[in-house]
Symmetry: none
Subunit: 78 residues, 4 copies
DNA sequence: ATTGCGGTTTTTGCCC
DNA sequence: GGGCAAAAACCGCAAT
């Protein structure tokens, strides 16, 4: 097995990733801003974070349940 | 601030940790044995793992909910 | 000091944050996709990651240097 | 090939595994406690971890060597 | 300033 | 050996 490895292509991949990471960082910063704003309105960061974490956990559990059902179906050949 | 750092004491800590890690590994091995046994009885590892993961997630969500309640109470000075 | 705390406003904040976190996750997934694509073309993930980390460090160093220069200039009233 | 699959037996397996995972978690917590205690006595966690990792690698290397010797012996009919 | 705590990333291990 | 889940290491914020 062989690949055509070129500096130019590698550079393309790296730049695409760097661009996306930049984007990700911007979004993180926006999230921080919202927390700051909420805090300024009297909402405790700690509580807001905890609510969000709980909601995420619940959503993950629901998704997992669905995935489990799919696994069952697959196992039963449905 | 200063501490009394000694090779003997360091050794004690390291040995305690190594002993516990040994124990942990033994438990992991027992878990693997159970999976193997279950598989031998026709229970698919993939499904068993998924069920356990789901149950863990649900438990974590319940615990988190409780923690959130505590945070609320604290915030309200109760 | 008092604030107007309302469930509706809290909900707004939470939903804004969740939306942004969703966005962040999507970007993360895109990054993973690029790594996968690169890998499919024969570029080792581990190495690509190293290059990116290195470039980020270099960029940080340049930014740092620039910030230092600005501090100097300001101190000199330029 | 057929198996007798029952909800009751599946439950047994799951509970056995969950019990063992609980145990594992407890051991992990004990390990954390030891690290904390050591830290309280002035021993840096990071360094203690490094030492332990190093010792484990050395042990693995010795075990490996021993296993190799056994292979040789067996091959020579000893 | 220091330390706990969450989140993120990296590494490890497992199963296929 | 390649993908996926768990564990460990690392980092950064926040609270004290």
């Amino acid at each position: 097995m062989s690949y055509e490895i070129t500096a130019a292509e590698l550079r393309q991949y790296i730049e695409r990733i760097e661009r996306l990471e930049e984007e990700k960082k911007e979004t993180s910063d926006l999230i921080k801003d919202v927390y700051k704003e909420a805090k300024g309105q009297g909402y405790e960061t700690k509580i807001v974070k905890q609510i969000i974490r709980l909601r995420r956990m619940e959503k993950d559990a629901r998704d997992e349940e669905e995935a489990l059902l799919d696994t069952y179906k697959e196992a039963l050949g449905l």
